[in-house]
């Protein structure tokens, strides 16, 4: 095996950056939009949220968050399936499912955030 051409260090970099942005940003966003706002603790005006969303900085931050968080999931979930469920013999399909899913999700995120 040629180690210099292995994609693993690059995938680990994406996993690691994704873990960091997810650790810093996901708790507050999930608390606000998944718990507090649905339970009517706060009700921000839709027009305000749209204005925030249309700010280029917001778009860029959310795009980066989505892509890195998805690749974080892909890498970690791949090894969860390998070790946690003893599925290493299906490594090929698992790699396609995980990283393929992250690529598809990233494209959807880009399309949504560019046109919103």
């Amino acid at each position: 095996m040629n180690h210099r051409r292995s994609p693993e260090p690059f995938l680990w970099m994406l996993f690691s950056s994704g873990g960091m942005v997810a650790a810093l940003m996901v708790p507050i966003l999930l608390f606000l939009f998944g718990i507090a706002i649905p339970l009517d603790l706060w009700s921000p005006a839709p027009a305000h949220l749209l204005a925030v969303l249309r700010n280029p900085i917001t778009r860029l931050v959310l795009f980066g968050l989505c892509v890195l968080a998805l690749f974080h999931w892909a890498h970690r979930f791949r090894y969860t399936l390998y070790d946690g469920l003893q599925l290493k013999r299906y490594a090929g399909p698992i790699v396609v499912l995980c990283y393929g899913g992250a690529v598809v999700g990233s494209v959807i995120a880009a399309a949504l955030l560019a046109t919103v």
Partner: protein
């Protein structure tokens, strides 16, 4: 030549508390992926106008969606705490030639987390 491979039980990780926490930590990634899906649905709803946003808020206020998000929130907190705890082992930060102690690196991460969370809350709720 065949190599003997010791059979591993499917639920080997239920045998020890630390293994269970390890697997729960690994499972946090599933809830991070769920969050991305939820966020993109929210972005789509906000972009489609006030009525569409209200429909999304009503949908996400159903008991089972709130339940999923509460569970996801707990898993994400587990991710954050374990991630910050490992940070000093993953990075060596030097100030004026001496290595910053592990507690200093962890404290800096918690500080960044609180500041960023406050900024996000202010931007969303102001």
């Amino acid at each position: 030549m065949s190599v003997y491979q010791r059979p591993v039980k499917l639920f080997w990780w239920l045998e020890k508390r630390s293994y269970v926490i390890f697997v729960l930590r690994e499972l946090s990634s599933v809830f991070i992926a769920w969050f991305v899906v939820f966020l993109l649905l929210l972005v789509n709803a906000i972009g489609d106008g006030a009525a569409s946003y209200q429909t999304f808020v009503d949908w996400s206020g159903q008991w089972w969606v709130v339940a999923i998000n509460v569970i996801a929130f707990l898993f994400v907190l587990l991710h954050t705490v374990t991630w910050f705890a490992l940070a000093p082992r993953a990075m060596v930060i030097k100030m004026r030639g001496t290595r910053v102690p592990a507690q200093g690196v962890v404290a800096a991460h918690y500080l960044a987390w609180f500041v960023l969370s406050a900024v996000v809350a202010w931007v969303v709720l102001r």
